[in-house]
Point group: D2
Chain length 339, copies 4
């Protein structure tokens, strides 16, 4: 850490700071500036919040961390990109861009089977569908729960597509893991640390969505929770952040792709459906994500969006999705990847 | 809901929309405008997301909800403010402004007992302190857990102060409820719906913190989760929202006080410590909160902030807190309330 | 507009609102809902803020505008995309994607000539470079002013590239227009209405940057200022909005491309340099912008970024830019366009 | 500045950075950390953006500024608060809190005279009213311009109240300065540097509003523009920032009061009318601002808000304003100030 002293800090104040730095097990190093002193505290600062508390001391203006606070998620630990195995035929993080598609919620056997067949035919690699739904309103449809998981399993059997579905509670995580190939942590649970620890103990890849007000650094810290429990299969997902703009449901931050790429070895997936909230914008943003370097996409496709129990306005119809798949393949080739 | 048709929508498209509105159990009512038609869908729209899916239909520009989506939290249900009983001598929501104070985390018996005695002497009404800590980093101190709860109970025994402490997981919620007088839901769990439902089933008042990117409406929806499970004792807490500004840790939104007052009967508490992240700003913002109409404050006080395991920079020393209590009493009187 | 009455609004209050709507020249139309009434005010609401003031009346809950407040910028006026002529050989808004490149500031004859030759060779269509610089600090380099404009003109003569440069003051706008092929309005002046009116009276295409906290709708309102003064050649530019994220200088909102496309006929340009603030992220975001449907890009290229007087960290070196041009051509082809 | 090297930076890269630091006139000072090196560049870094460009060099992770980039606005230049003289009887920055009140726009002689008399009677110290109006829409009322200024002067003559009114263009700034006692720079012009320089050359106090996406630091940089041109009478005004919240027009950031107080000697005024956009919230936020330490308030008061040409929903009626004045006096006394 770097401790910046106030311009008028006196000798005694500086000595107190130096003393405290040593007390905490760091080596202080003073730089005498033209208007103020700056003190480096040498040592590994991760997990050592005590240094931050120096900010309360007299004569101190600010404390600036130097190291990123995550380790296992960082490129320092692993320089090359991670490839995460989903099933015998699907893995994410390599040359092939993985397309996950399907409805927001599992609503009925017919709906999920129809969806699965449609997205499979169009060329998707993974089937998405929510069985446990975290809903803003207690009066909204909360999902079919275990029945939904069973329907997803049926759809997988029929199509061979692995499934990604959300886990919303440590208590039901084991149940979901029995059925799912990828466990999804939703945006609203992205700092539900009890849940992160739980999925860190399970043997299933995790798709971790970025929270609506979560920085890139915090996303990596949440990934670190999962990694540090022993689960190395973490896929990061940008799904739009909350800003002042209301023309889109969220603001899809595609610059998260290179920003994450420069910091972590974990694969990055984009969710253009939640990211924009408008099915008209899903196509252009899917192509943009591929050109921008995404390792995967998760797209809402519903056979009958006008009757969807949730997220109808942002769902593609199967025919539109099939057209988009063709376009995505072309853009992927232009950046030397495949879909 | 109001369905706004596109300027060029044709007859067939309008008919489809009218048909769909009826299918969903609403009565359509068309207004022919100068450039476009607008259709009102008459009926109780709460919990009926299906109407929103009309946005996917051809010829539809947008769907505008008219009703607030919450019921039990609204003033329509209860016009006067709720008063919530905390203990024999403390309730919140009336003329008296409730001051909750204490350290961020329970660190040791001495620390929490010293804190409790100091805040009690200064005139605080409730002791705060975290035993289960939701931390951004897996490498940070995660709290003393049940041992921390026991120390809080000891401090309560000694001082008579009721205690407020955080619950972070449905699995440990019963345990926390055995010790706590108020269950705190932290900002990062404010849309952890499994946890909200769980505390809704417990018989303890809940202090619900606003999430960092949570609108006023969403805060009331999260309160609705608790209320709809049967727990009527919900206290709302503004603790700063996330914005572009970096001079403060968060942006404390004091206008949430009148904005909530006009929408809900539930009491409103302000957390100036997390709201600003800087102990120098806690005093002015505490006084502002009282003048602005807050029903309570939750303030971090630590006997030795420079050695705090968390949130040192935003904690007041006991002497500063005692001075602030005197000032708060004066401002409270000026708005015809007491502290 | 739609006027939503409060649930408990009484008869007299409703009558007052109806009377006021008529007074303002609109036709009221009441929908009696199950819990409250909603009143449509029929008539062209644009530019009629008086309707909004109904929100102050007793018994009124809210006033919801239905029409977009812009006309000339809207698709209602012109369904097809506008193509704007820049020079004999360059126009923007058609199949060809226009690449504008060059340094942030004009610093010297050698620097701007070298830049112009380099970007021309790589295939750029327009040379960018600032002569009048709006700087956050009064102590920062403020640009070479007219000397800078002369150097830009020299570079144009040499390379044939039209030039885009910023205008920051109505007083010097005529001077800039003597030299520039495109007048740039910077993000900080995007609601400087005196300046917008001034460039609306000039006979030069305008590149209007979106402000840092500007909604899509406000951007179109600022365009409307220019259009309504008679200048139909407006190019919109997304250059990153301000959010809580600090890993990037701004958050580049690529979903602005489809969101603008669905609302306006004006061409859309992306600035990945200011949008990300990091030269490592410029490449991926340039490719993403092209795949996402942008009509042009404006990219900072500097022969020696380490000695740039401004924006060094986000500038590409000429060799990197040339590589990027090759990649952009491939992605453009994959979406049936050219670069 | 502090230059943080990458973990794997090699010797040659470090040497290049050291060389560049010296070239730029600074003295480098290396701290060898456990995982990476950190280099301090000693010397006055203000206005020296060249140092920032080191971020483009190989082996460099980031460049962290240490000094605040403003001088004249800082407390280093002047420790005590500035008191700015407005008229013989009014100054701002001392014990007395200055209340500025009046309509958003000057609409007619009767309207402004009635407003002036009403706010004077209630005890306001300064009359506000816009003659040149910066409006988001070109179709909205743009103000009475010079006629409006004349009406303001008439109101001043009648009541003795000094007037504050907005200046929106360098070309008309001299004209406004002939009439106004305080020149207001609106939020949308807060980084219109040409305008800031112009008012810096005039001999009138300036009320500088914070832009909607402007950090505290940028507000002080804009103040620095005015101060560095020779005008020392700058009053800062917080008027709400733009966030994701839509329950209020803007988010009023009252923590800007202590945040500014700790950084600058300039007085701080709060605008609760634009800050909230809702006349019901103006009262509580006015009291909060006073308790929080504001030096003044600027409040919209209109004799007939339902017929206001602009900002009706956020304007107080004179009777409500008079009641609020009484309450403000009580809160001011409780914090040892006067209104």
């Amino acid at each position: 850490m770097i401790i910046v002293m106030k311009a008028g800090a006196d000798k005694r104040e500086k000595e107190e700071v130096l003393k405290k730095i040593k007390e905490l097990g760091y080596t202080p190093h003073v730089i005498h500036g033209t208007t103020r002193d700056v003190i480096g505290a040498i040592g590994d600062e991760r997990g050592k919040e005590a240094l931050q508390s120096i900010e309360s001391m007299n004569g101190v203006e600010s404390v600036v961390p130097i190291l990123q606070p995550y380790k296992l998620a960082s490129k320092e630990v692993m320089k090359e990109s991670s490839t995460i195995r989903i099933s015998d035929s699907v893995s994410i993080g390599g040359k092939n861009i993985v397309i996950m598609a399907g409805p927001c919620s599992v609503e009925s056997e017919k709906q999920i089977i129809d969806s699965a067949i449609a997205v499979k035919e169009a060329g998707a690699h993974v089937l998405r569908g929510g069985a446990f739904k975290p809903r803003t309103s207690p009066y909204s449809f909360q999902g079919l729960e275990e029945d939904g998981l069973k329907l997803l399993a049926k759809a997988r059997e029929l199509t061979g597509l692995p499934i990604v579905t959300e886990v919303i509670n440590p208590e039901t995580a084991d149940l979901v893991a029995e059925y799912a190939d990828i466990l999804q942590i939703g945006a609203r649970n992205s700092q539900n640390f009890a849940l992160l620890k739980k999925v860190g103990q399970l043997k299933r890849p995790v798709l971790l969505k970025r929270g609506m007000a979560m920085t890139i650094q915090e996303l990596l810290m949440s990934a670190e929770y999962i990694l540090s429990e022993g689960n190395q299969s973490v896929i990061l997902c940008e799904r739009g952040i909350r800003t002042f703009e209301t023309a889109t449901r969220n603001t899809l931050d595609l610059s998260a792709i290179p920003a994450l790429r420069s910091r972590t070895h974990l694969p990055v997936v984009i969710d253009p459906s939640h990211g924009t909230g408008n099915h008209h914008y899903v196509g252009p943003m899917s192509l943009a994500a591929i050109a921008g370097g995404a390792d995967g996409l998760i797209i809402e496709v519903h056979p009958d969006p006008e009757h969807a129990t949730s997220d109808g306005p942002q769902s593609l119809k199967p025919a539109k999705f099939a057209e988009l798949m063709v376009k995505m393949r072309r853009v992927a080739e232009a950046v030397d990847r495949t879909v």
